[in-house]
């Protein structure tokens, strides 16, 4: 299906920012449709402005051309993690990817993230992803009495795990991992990142248990250090480095 949308006359002028035509080639899947379990591809052409993101183009399509186009989104500025998708073969957040940065001269290919069951169009079932997350005990484990004031933590100790606190659980990393694609049982980078966040928190006392969980055959050793995850992370977390640090901690038991 190809549909073209003219720039509506009511659109306000956007200063000096030029507008341009952009075509999105989107992978569609809807078991309720005539195509049943078969995925199809649709192309849509819309007019975009200089600062528009892929999410803006998807909204324009949904709101003005095809209301059945289905995707998740919420905050629209890269902090809620709803709209991870494959854009020109790379996992990104649609709300953080400017159209002008993904070569709008050619059709932009938009697909759901890989390795998780597709529910409809760009929406995947996130349950397996969250199940792995829950398994690594993603919470502070402490023993003894609660202190009456805050626990003391030096700025250096706080900095030790700062990078991995940034995770928004968008699944861009896990669903970019070739090991995860072939073996859905693998915990995946995001779960390990969140284990890292607690293993290296000086206040936490659950590191040994978490390392035991990740020492599993579906655990951290499945990582083949391809760096896809680091490249995919929209928060700039050094995911592969974090995984390496967890591997090292498993050997040295130093954390």
């Amino acid at each position: 299906m190809t549909a073209v949308l003219e720039n509506p006359a009511s659109e306000p002028a956007v200063g000096a920012v030029p507008s341009f035509e952009v075509t999105l080639r989107i992978r569609r899947y809807n078991p309720e449709s005539v195509h049943g379990d078969e995925a199809t591809w649709d192309e849509f052409t819309v007019t975009a402005h200089g600062t528009d993101r892929v999410l803006d183009a998807l909204h324009k399509i949904k709101w003005e051309l095809d209301g059945s186009l289905t995707f998740r989104r919420s905050c629209a500025h890269g902090v809620c993690g709803s709209d991870a998708m494959r854009i020109n073969g790379r996992n990104r957040l649609a709300c953080k990817t400017l159209l002008k940065d993904v070569n709008p001269d050619k059709p932009i290919i938009v697909e759901p993230i890989k390795g998780l069951p597709v529910v409809k169009d760009l929406v995947v079932d996130m349950e397996p992803f969250f199940a792995s997350y829950r398994e690594i005990m993603p919470f502070l484990v402490t023993t003894g009495n609660e202190p009456s004031r805050e626990r003391i933590q030096s700025a250096e100790d706080r900095a030790r795990f700062d990078d991995t606190t940034k995770c928004i659980l968008c699944a861009a990393c896990t669903s970019s991992c070739p090991v995860f694609w072939t073996d859905g049982q693998y915990f995946g980078p995001a779960a390990i990142v969140n284990a890292h966040r607690f293993i290296f928190d000086s206040r936490d006392e659950g590191a040994a248990q978490r390392l035991e969980i990740l020492n599993d055959k579906e655990g951290v050793w499945r990582c083949r250090t391809t760096f896809n995850c680091t490249e995919a992370c929209p928060r700039g977390i050094e995911v592969t480095k974090a995984i390496q640090e967890v591997k090292r901690a498993m050997i040295t038991r130093a954390f």
């Binding site: 200063g15 000096a16 809807n30 078991p31 309720e32 449709s33 600062t51 993101r53 949904k62 709101w63 003005e64 095809d66 209301g67 059945s68 289905t70 995707f71 989104r73 919420s74 905050c75 629209a76 500025h77 890269g78 902090v79 809620c80 993690g81 709803s82 953080k96 400017l98 529910v119 409809k120 929406v123 996130m126 969250f130 997350y133 005990m137 993603p138 919470f139 502070l140 609660e146 202190p147 004031r149 805050e150 626990r151 003391i152 933590q153 030096s154 700025a155 100790d157 706080r158 795990f161 700062d162 606190t165 940034k166 995770c167 928004i168 659980l169 607690f198 928190d201 206040r203 936490d204």
Partner: protein
Amino acid sequence: MQTHQYDVVIVGAGGAGMRAALEASSQARTAVISKLYPTRSHTGAAQGGMCAALANVEEDNWEWHTFDTIKGGDYLVDQDAAEIMAKEAIDAVLDLERMGLPFNRTPEGRIDQRRFGGHTRNHGEAAVRRACYAADRTGHMILQTLYQNCVKQDVEFFNEFYVLDLLTDHDLTTEQVEDGAEVNATGVVAYDLATGEIHVFQAKAIIFATGGAGKIFKTTSNAHTLTGDGMALAYRRGLPLEDMEFFQFHPTGLAGLGILLSEAARGEGGILRNADGERFMERYAPTIKDLAPRDIVARSMANEVREGRGAGPNKDYVLLDLTHLEPAHIDAKLPDITEFARTYLGIEPYTEPVPVYPTAHYAMGGVPTNVDGEVLRDGRNVVRGLYAAGEVACVSVHGSNRLGTNSLLDINVFGKRAGRAAAAYAKTAGPHRELPENPARRVVEQLEEMRDRPDGERVADVRRALQETMDANAQVFRTGESLHKALADIRDLQKRYRNVSVQDKGKLFNTDLLEAIELGFLLDIAEVTVVAALNRKESRGGHYREDFPQRDDAHYMLHTMAYRRPTSAPDVADGHVTGFFDHVEAFDGYKVVLGSKPVTQTRYEPMERKY
């Protein structure tokens, strides 16, 4: 259709909902129903901090925090509630730290604190370091920490379930329920997005924690999903909404986009400048300048633009200048917001000032509650078993203008209180109350009507028209004329709404259908916002009427209570009409009846608000 039974059902899994869940689930069988995965909630977008008078870095006490909150809210704050919030703030922060929240630390390893707008030492002497923070992603850390602890406690979630109706044992839209008579909440009806199936949840206690309604405006920091669902459901079921005319416009939204840049940017030393490079806040708030409360800063910015001193090719924004700060300091304290400027505007904040303009940010009003989160059905009586907390609620701790950081505080303090009260009530409430016959009827009819309408207007067109009229006519500056224009537009849009249709007719993950339902919520919230704004012929906090620029305590030192009633109902809201709050606005098929509620004053006499 599926039916579930719980002691406590919490609607919404942002900060308030999950904080409530941590309390309730340890004492009573609890379910959390959320239209998003919990970690997608907009609490995660909050940036700057959460205030509590820990006095970790300088002298401070909760009484000063109470005063700042009351003054910041232009004295429309219920003072007993503000005192509770400021006092319990300290434990709220310590609770989060114990749960694992990675706060930034002082050199001694304590929780670090920084300055924030309107928070002062000794009743306004100077800015005080009161905001506890984790870089500029404090909300993210709070949301993650609360979710982590929900995982730890094995809290039961129903994710991507939209609550579309509230069930009570009296129809408050039509019945005249006497003062003191018992009204009970009995359940909610939800729609499972993945399957399209209807689920009825029967509960002894229900907590609404559904967040705000920023999407009534075009330029907003709010997520697409903030469509006022909980407020609109309560309003449709005959419950009042309080102080809806007070909406906060955050001063520093990225120009043209509305994406939030935290007040922490100014707390860390950032300065607002006009096109001439002038630090214009020195003229508007000589003592605390750029750290004046948000209503004052937003108005000052809008005024600079109106008077021709705006920057940029269209002179339609001002500049947030961070260029005098060390890049290392910016990276340590403001990493996310500076990245937003780079990503979305291509601006390098180390060397260039960032274009900013006010963005619709926060509803001070909402579903009225007492300090235990119990929802009021008028100025005096509660609905038994119904609670609300967070932005959906109006306690009222924010009055007519919320101070920065007090929302993260509100969700933690009143989320906890509501969760605790709901569980305690559920334990003593006896067996579940009977649900009405065919409890899902209204929801099923509404969805089928929308889905079956063969052809009509697009949801997006009606929504855009609503957002544009709200931006043009009900934003930072309002007049009787502009608000009448907005109201006329909303009447027209309510009519057009009856003719919108969706293209997706399926059962599975039908976001087209849900966006149409959400638009109905937005229209109702915009309607009540504008009616209340028209009635309040004074300027106070976030509500500025150019035709009535002064605060008028003699006539308007009262909370607005707005009720939707059938056209045939009496024009009196709850039997206690006060002179300037007896307005009735007729609509097609119903009317909005205004009433009022006194402001609770304890020890602070209203004064002129100067900074």
